[in-house]
């Protein structure tokens, strides 16, 4: 303890840490019926950290080229000690992270945490979700297997329907006209350099905003809360409770990785047919299923382009929802937006279920 004090003094003599200490001392988290949801963002962040660690480890063996990517992942899975575990944790962790991101997003949505003054926190969070999906999409191709090959083909082809710049986006994403080794090398670059650096800055903004503005109390509980505000200290009370959640998720991750190691599938073959039962990652499945129902032509227009345009508008609406929900901005109940959220959740659940259980 004495040594710790000495060390702390050593730092204290060189840098003034009193501001940080004061901030940590003062910071509190509201306690109410729904404060449980405050921990989900922390779990997502924790999973992001495990992704960075396992990702760095995988980089030691992975080779990003069409003739060696699949073999290098096979080598990781079969010859490198604990390679199967590290890769499975990376794959399961990615899926869990996106799952918790969705839970975090919908919980903040239904708690109307995006209302003034937290609009920027919501928007930065929405960008983080888009980045996480981009991480998932780019990472999916890296083992260079058949499923990923076609998922990438379909996913990147969608960009081509954007009027005017579609073809440029397609070429930028693929590194050529088709999905080839050039695409794999590009996706690797996106996955390990471009996306992490972008995420780092947006995450920093998101976290600074959360720290500066504190947690939002839902409008439905605000009146009651303001009469008798109960709080909990962020350090160490809240963070220790959060840590219990992280530990539970780590346990879940370990169990999933150990009991259900992530498969590798067949190596990609650009001249093979798309395999039966092909599906993208589960978080894209509702969009994939939607595309199946859109006819080739709608009122003389390209149906697929129209569908993607409408989906794009929907995403824009979602990102900028704080500016559309005027009632929530005034701290009034906004049932319409709650209904929109419920419809969206139901739509995602129904489409995903149809795709997995009732679709050819």
């Amino acid at each position: 303890m004495d040594k710790l004090k000495k060390l702390s003094n050593w730092f204290e003599e060189r840098i003034d840490l009193s501001g940080i200490r004061k901030f940590m001392d003062k910071k509190v988290v509201p306690v109410h019926k729904q404060h449980f949801w405050y921990g989900i963002g922390g779990i997502t962040l924790f999973l992001f950290v495990t992704q960075i660690i396992t990702g760095i480890l995988l980089l030691l063996y992975y080779r990003p080229a069409a003739d060696s990517a699949y073999e290098s992942v096979q080598f990781i899975m079969t010859s490198v000690r604990f390679g199967w575990l590290i890769r499975s944790i990376h794959s399961w962790g990615a899926n869990l992270m996106i799952f918790f991101l969705f839970v975090h997003m919908f919980s903040t949505f239904f708690m109307k945490a995006y209302r003034k003054p937290r609009e920027m926190t919501w928007i930065s969070g929405a960008f983080l979700l888009i980045l996480a999906l981009a991480f998932g999409f780019s990472g999916y191709l890296l083992p260079w297997n058949k499923l990923a090959f076609f998922a990438t083909k379909v996913g990147t082809e969608m960009a081509a329907v954007v009027p005017g710049v579609g073809n440029h986006i397609l070429m930028f994403l693929r590194g050529g006209e088709d999905v080839t080794g050039a695409t794999l090398t590009r996706f690797f670059g996106f996955h390990v350099a471009l996306l992490p650096i972008t995420t780092f800055f947006i995450l920093l903004i998101h976290l600074v905003l959360i720290q500066a503005q504190g947690m939002s109390v839902p409008p439905s509980l605000e009146k009651e809360y303001n009469k008798n505000p109960k709080t909990m200290k962020f350090f160490p009370d809240f963070i220790l409770r959060d840590a219990v959640g992280w530990l539970a998720v780590l346990g879940l991750l370990g169990v999933l990785a150990a009991l259900f190691p992530w498969g590798l599938g067949e190596k990609a073959d650009p001249f093979a047919s798309a395999p039966m039962g092909i599906k993208p990652e589960w978080y894209f499945v509702f969009l994939f299923q939607t595309l199946k129902y859109i006819p080739g032509r709608i009122l003389g227009l390209n149906g697929e382009a129209l569908g993607i345009f409408v989906i794009g508008l929907g995403i824009l609406f979602w990102v900028f929802v704080p500016f559309f929900d005027h009632r929530a901005q005034k701290n009034l109940p906004s049932k319409t937006f709650t209904v929109i959220g419920i419809v969206l959740v139901l739509y995602i659940l129904v489409m995903t279920t149809i795709s997995y259980f009732f679709s050819s």
Binding site: K292, G296, E304, S360
Partner: protein
């Protein structure tokens, strides 16, 4: 005097902003050109050996490379051969022949084409490009239509 210095300041600011814009554009142009991959000349191949005679059973199909793209050769139940581009016109997945449907099928979004390459159902907006099939000795040659 004050007016004068203000206009001088505005002029300098304008100059600075213009040169900053020009400088940024100058830096970004090579980056943009670097990011966009160079055009690779398309394969000029007009005909390929798709299979050997009798390699395919009646009512079956085979996907083969035609230049840099996949193509599909189908042997109908009556023994006749047909060939098409195997690139689905919806989102560019590679199609396959379904014996059970006697149709060309895309696994990605359930697009179906008949044995003339025309869309039967699903999201594809147009037909598959048909190719010519000829038998030369023991080889089946597939070529682009003139």
């Amino acid at each position: 005097m004050k007016e004068n210095s203000k206009s001088r300041r505005t002029f300098l600011l304008g100059g600075l902003l213009s040169s900053l814009t020009a400088f940024t554009a100058m830096m970004l142009y090579p980056v943009w050109r670097f990011i966009m991959p160079p055009k690779v000349p398309e394969s000029t191949q007009n005909a390929v050996k798709a299979a050997k005679v009798n390699e395919l059973e009646p009512n079956s199909g085979k996907v083969f490379p035609f230049g840099s793209k996949p193509a599909i050769l189908i042997r109908l139940a009556n023994g006749e051969y047909r060939a098409f581009s195997a690139v689905c016109t919806h989102l560019q997945c590679t199609v396959q022949y379904r014996k059970d449907f006697k149709l060309i099928w895309c696994a990605c979004h359930n697009g179906r084409y008949d044995l003339n390459g025309n869309v039967v159902s699903g999201p594809p907006p147009s037909s598959l490009e048909p190719f010519e099939v000829a038998i030369s000795g023991s080889d089946i040659i597939v070529s682009k239509r003139a």
